[in-house]
């Protein structure tokens, strides 16, 4: 059974008289335990699709199911990690991680053994994320990478079946990012959760994903899906493998073709040609004339 299943999903934003078609006819099946990544040009609807799956926005067309159940609003089975961490600044690191424990949905199992198991899990997550020393610190005292690890631990605390991440490492520097890549792969394997991961970094998408879903803008849609034919256990050396590099150039090429950037580049080239020829910019008709 698919963990996430989208069939003919569409999303139209209407504000006043303007209509923005953010997504059109998106169909996607994510297998249980799969790690898929979404890439594509800016504005192609990656975040929108993720928010629809999370139930934070309502789709205007088609069907979305998570674990075989239609998505109607956010739920504890689909945890989300945002780019800007959004930790709770008034809680310590440990209290942030245990935040979900106080919610009614997670308190049905309240034997002392369960409570103990939960607190053990919090400790285990702290250790796994390398945050044991920072348990009593406040988020404002942590670096960006640490904050993001807390956010991931908080999302994992209640064992969600699906983890949704929207450019979680977008604000981190390249080195921290590489560490986070191996960490997130390791943790998600360990937890066995399904991951839908949005990024605009093609290297990241290929390194993390079992499949790379390439989206295209205007209207937002799925352009193509690329299986990553690398062993499931990834290591940094694979970034230089032939498969990685060829897939990378294929995906990049396709993004360039679909993003409308080509026409922009064309325009830029024409403009620069014209100015080097010393002709006035506004004189467009004569510049193109033979």
């Amino acid at each position: 059974m698919s963990a996430v299943s989208c069939r003919g999903v569409g999303k139209v934003f209407t504000s006043g008289r303007t209509r923005v078609v953010a997504l059109e006819n998106v169909s996607l099946e994510v297998a249980d335990g799969e790690f898929i990544t979404l890439v594509g040009a800016s504005g192609c609807g990656k975040s929108t699709l993720l928010r629809l799956i999370a139930g934070l926005d309502e789709h205007t067309e088609g069907e979305i199911e998570a674990g075989g159940v239609p998505v109607q609003g956010p739920g504890a089975d689909r945890a989300m990690v945002f780019q800007n961490y959004s930790l709770y600044p008034w809680l310590t690191v440990k209290a942030n991680i245990k935040f979900a424990r106080q919610l009614a949905v997670h308190t049905h199992d309240r034997t002392s053994a369960d409570v103990e198991a939960a607190s053990g899990r919090a400790e285990a997550l702290l250790g796994l994320m390398g945050l044991a020393q920072m348990a009593q610190a406040y988020p404002s005292q942590l670096s960006g990478g640490m904050q993001q690890r807390v956010a991931i631990a908080r999302a994992l605390m209640t064992r969600p079946r699906i983890l949704l991440m929207d450019e979680p490492f977008g604000a981190l520097d390249a080195q921290t990012r590489e560490v986070m890549h191996d960490l997130i792969l390791h943790v998600c394997r360990l937890e066995g959760c399904t991951v839908v991961f949005v990024t605009h970094d093609v290297d990241e998408a290929i390194y993390l994903g079992e499949r790379v879903v390439l989206m295209a803008p205007r209207p937002g849609r799925i352009d193509s899906i690329h299986a990553v034919l690398l062993p499931r256990e990834r290591n940094p050396a694979m970034k230089h493998s032939a498969e990685f590099l060829s897939l990378r150039s294929r995906v990049l090429e396709r993004i360039r073709e679909t993003s409308g950037l080509i026409t922009d580049l064309e325009l830029l080239r024409k403009l620069s040609q014209r100015t080097t020829l010393g002709q006035p910019l506004q004189d467009t008709s004569s510049a193109n004339a033979p």
Binding site: G55, P74, L103, Y138, T158
Partner: protein, 260 residues
């Protein structure tokens, strides 16, 4: 030194604050000591201190301070009691906002002083009337500020809780309220200041005690030094309360003041 939002040591801060207070004080002293200004128009600092002393000994200064503090705090607390839950709902639910915010915005521009005749008509002229004036002066501003504080809670903080399975009530209780708390305390501190500014107005209503009343009466007898004394006392009490709020802020929200 002129670095934008630069850092300043505690010591330099308080030295500068003392200078900021001392300069106008010495100007005032010099001006009156020269004798160029009539004492009736501008009493000297000594006259004012002297007046406070006699007020304390012969005229029950402490009763005036006590009753004024009571009126201000009662009016302000009553207003907070209603404004906090109401503002929370205005800031959280668009439906409530649509119904109440334009109305509040409208009322808030009406001058509180102009309500005095109505208050006397409806409530009478006893303590309740004075508290009501202070309430009217602070409440409508307070509601809007509370609503704004609540709206400032980042949407992402709310959405994280929702994707962790929080219900609507839990989002309010576990995210919106704790997230907005520091801003709410600041709003309470600022509106406390406004409540004090309405004191004199409130004590226009058939009062026979209180700092504001004392100022009004002193005006009638041209006791400029007492007017000065009353104004300075209100300023001092306000400053003390403000500092108390800041202390509570530091104690209640260690995470905002913690730096590794």
């Amino acid at each position: 030194m002129w670095k934008i939002r630069g850092w300043l040591s505690q010591r330099s801060y308080w030295i500068l604050a003392a200078v900021g207070l001392a300069v106008p004080l010495s100007l005032w002293t010099a001006l009156t000591a020269l004798g160029s200004v009539n004492r009736v128009f501008l009493p000297g600092p000594y006259d004012v201190v002297h007046r406070i002393a006699t007020w304390f000994q012969d005229d029950d200064l402490l009763t005036d301070v006590g009753i004024s503090c009571f009126r201000v705090i009662a009016g302000w607390a009553l207003s907070a009691l209603v404004a906090l839950p109401l503002g929370l709902f205005i800031g959280t639910f668009r439906v409530v906002q649509a119904v109440l915010e334009p109305l509040t915005d409208f009322i808030r521009y009406m001058p509180a002083v102009a309500f005095i005749p109505l208050v006397m008509l409806w409530i009478g002229i006893d303590e309740g009337a004075k508290i009501a004036i202070i309430f009217i002066g602070t409440f409508f501003q307070m509601v809007l500020m509370v609503a704004e504080d609540v709206r400032r809670v980042p949407m992402a903080q709310i959405e994280v809780a929702q994707t962790l399975g929080a219900t609507r009530g839990e989002v309010l209780e576990e995210v919106i309220i704790p997230s907005a708390k520091p801003a709410l305390l600041d709003t309470l501190r600022i509106t406390m200041g406004w409540a004090w500014t309405y004191l004199v107005v409130a004590e226009l209503v058939a009062a026979n005690s209180g700092l504001g009343y004392a100022i009004i009466k002193a005006q009638r007898f041209l006791q400029t030094d007492k007017i000065f004394a009353g104004i300075l006392l209100i300023g001092a009490i306000g400053l003390a309360m403000d500092q108390a709020f800041r202390l509570i802020h530091r104690l209640a929200f260690p995470y905002l003041h913690a730096r590794s």
